[in-house]
């Protein structure tokens, strides 16, 4: 038992150790390679890092729960885009324009409801048909993206509201609005996963679905709730991000599902389910954004960033496997 907790600590600490290595590397490399004078470890830069982690981060938090269940949700990027369209377009509806600034919270509500509904559709199909979530959400990813394109063709949907932008750009106690949402969501979900029955059930289902069913956990509704939750979070991510940018391209959010999954896996959550942690996912998200930022800081191009993240992902999975194997060997002796 003691061994296990220690192994857990090492696993959960790994991502944070990795972040420290990244910070050290980019600080030192930045001294030589960066053309700018400002240091990478600048406090403002670190605040920006958190803020920039928010769009994918908020989605990745939800993805952690889905993956602890042993499921996956590929439709989050499309949900993100559709919620963004609802957010921005609803503000141009005639009755909304008569409301003045009260239209803003209402538009948020519409967008978040869109996310919940889209998540519920995926969740219901998974529940009622028993088809694997990978296939179901692959379908809904294509379907929702189709809806995005049907809405406004190839053209961006735009509505720039400076009140909204000012709110999104605001800094409260030094942290940006987006950061507050990211950290708030992380704390709430961490509490959900560690302090509630729903959280314990999520791990139980991921570990062994049959056993969970036999133990009386209603797996179908449980999945439905989680898909609604991730739909909500994808929409929340859109709300936070598009409040600040005011225009959505029809292909926005593409590949976000994969970035979110990457962050979750980097954070040590098992693809097969049953194991994972919200806080470690937060680490994974920060690690990815640090890489993007850092490689940009030392002058590497985007392709390099993707290559490096890909390599690190494989390395992490390999290390994880080795660590697990070692753990088992130790137990046997």
């Amino acid at each position: 038992m003691k061994n296990e907790t220690r192994a857990n600590l090492i696993k959960q600490g790994a991502i944070w150790a990795f972040i420290l290595v990244e910070l050290a590397f980019f600080s030192i490399a930045g001294e030589f390679l960066s053309v700018t004078e400002t240091a990478f470890m600048d406090f403002d830069n670190m605040l920006l890092l958190l803020k920039q982690s928010a769009p994918i981060g908020i989605i990745a938090l939800g993805m952690t729960i889905i993956m602890i269940n042993g499921n996956i949700d590929l439709s989050v990027g499309a949900t993100f885009a559709l919620a963004a369209i609802v957010l921005l377009d609803s503000m141009t509806w005639p009755f909304m324009q008569t409301l003045g600034n009260w239209a803003i919270p209402l538009a948020w509500l519409f967008a978040l409801a869109t996310g919940v509904v889209l998540g519920a559709i995926s969740g219901l199909i998974v529940w009622k048909t028993g088809v694997d979530a990978f296939i179901v959400t692959l379908g809904s990813m294509l379907g929702y993206r189709g809806l995005v394109f049907m809405y406004n063709g190839e053209q961006p949907t735009s509505h720039l509201n400076w009140t909204l932008v000012d709110f999104a750009e605001a800094q409260f106690l030094g942290l940006h609005t987006a950061t507050w949402f990211l950290l708030g969501a992380a704390i709430l979900l961490w509490l959900l996963m560690t302090r509630t029955v729903h959280g314990r059930n999520a791990y139980a289902i991921g570990n062994n679905r049959d056993a969970a069913v036999n133990a009386g956990i209603r797996v179908g509704p449980h999945f439905l709730w989680n898909f609604m939750l991730i739909g909500f979070l994808a929409a929340l991510s859109a709300v936070v991000f598009y409040s600040e940018s005011g225009s959505v391209n029809p292909n926005d959010g593409m590949l976000y599902e994969l970035w979110a999954i990457t962050a979750v896996v980097l954070g040590g959550t098992k693809l097969s389910g049953g194991y994972g942690s919200i806080i470690s996912t937060l680490g994974g998200v920060i690690a990815i954004q640090l890489l993007r930022k850092g490689l940009g800081h030392i002058g590497a191009d985007t392709e390099t960033v993707n290559l490096v993240i890909g390599l690190i992902l494989i390395a992490v999975l390999f290390l994880d496997r080795q660590l697990n194997r070692k753990g088992k060997e130790e137990l046997r002796t």
Partner: protein
């Protein structure tokens, strides 16, 4: 002894000071965030040309970033460049409206922003130092001149009938090219009639269908103006299939490799040559001029010359 040490210290400090001062002012740091390098060869060539131009110029250092088509990433890159306190930022917008708040942030930080290739929406103009890119109105007007000159050479400028295939509705580029063409044509060839305009959505297959419909509808078509060569070649294919390509003058805007090849084959008459190298060099030069405090026009266009079968040897084949 003591005094001389002090004096030496003062001297060296002063020298250090001037050295730092000199360094800070002899060199500009310019950051660029591009739309999506690698998605097409225009953007790839643009990036290479930009880096090459920066390397040749000792007075600038550049931070070259690429948003990969992702608005969120581009906004993050803008924030990073602001945070790094670069002297100027060049942006190729992934979305002409979504980046406006980020551009405002840069302008609030007193960093001049130069928009390259395609402009941001009007609400953001207040926060932009200059736009460097092609002038689509002139491109359209020049296409009209190419068309008219060709009709004059054929002696049909008094009765020629033409059709237009425009770009995607709503796109500024499409609207401006059509406007430039439609305004200029009656000035140079008042008796040429534009019988119909239909959008081809920048798409070759769509344009081919549009042209097929035109060919059925009109027995006499002397010229086709397309918003870019991709669409022009689509129209050419339709005319070839109907056996009527020989009677028709095809003129595009933005010369693509397919258009260049069709020109070399003698099937396609002319277009407008827009070089990504010129585009990139113009953007960098605009940024430097802004930093030097020169008077830079808000819309700082680079030249996009006419290209026809007659003068195509002067141009290399486009890479895209």
């Amino acid at each position: 002894m003591k005094i001389s040490t002090k004096f030496a210290l003062v001297c060296s400090t002063a020298m250090l000071g001037t050295a730092a001062f000199g360094e800070a002012h002899s060199s500009y740091t310019i950051g660029i965030t591009q739309n999506n390098v690698g998605v097409d060869s225009y953007q790839t060539t643009y990036e290479q040309a930009f880096i090459a131009a920066a390397e040749e110029n000792d007075a600038v250092e550049v931070v070259v970033l690429d948003a990969g088509g992702d608005v969120a990433r581009q906004i993050a890159q803008m924030e990073d460049l602001i945070q790094q306190e670069v002297d100027a930022i060049i942006i190729w917008p992934t979305n002409g409206e979504a980046v406006i708040p980020a551009v405002r942030k840069a302008s609030q930080a007193d960093i001049p922003v130069i928009v390259t290739n395609s402009n941001i929406a009007e609400q953001g103009f207040d926060f932009v130092a200059s736009f460097s890119g092609p002038d689509n109105i002139t491109q359209g007007a020049r296409s009209a001149e190419i068309m008219c000159d060709r009709f004059k050479a054929q002696g049909i400028e008094g009765e020629a009938q033409i059709v237009q295939i425009s770009g995607q509705p709503g796109y500024t580029t499409a609207i401006e090219r059509a406007k430039g063409f439609e305004d200029r044509l009656p000035e140079v060839c008042p008796d040429v009639t534009l019988v119909e305009t239909q959008p081809g959505d920048w798409n070759r297959e769509k344009s081919q269908q549009v042209m097929e419909a035109f060919l059925v509808k009109y027995d006499d078509i002397d010229g086709v103006y397309a918003g870019d060569d991709n669409m022009g070649v689509g129209a050419l294919n339709a005319a070839k299939a109907a056996g009527r390509a020989g009677d028709i003058t095809f003129v595009g805007a933005t010369n693509f490799a397919v258009g260049y090849e069709a020109m070399a084959a003698g099937e396609y008459w002319g277009s407008i040559y827009q070089s990504p190298v010129d585009d990139a060099e113009a953007a960098l030069q605009t940024a430097i001029d802004v930093l030097d405090g020169k008077d830079v026009p808000f819309l700082n266009y680079f030249d996009t010359p006419k290209i026809t079968q007659d003068n195509m040897d002067e141009f290399t084949k486009p890479v895209f």
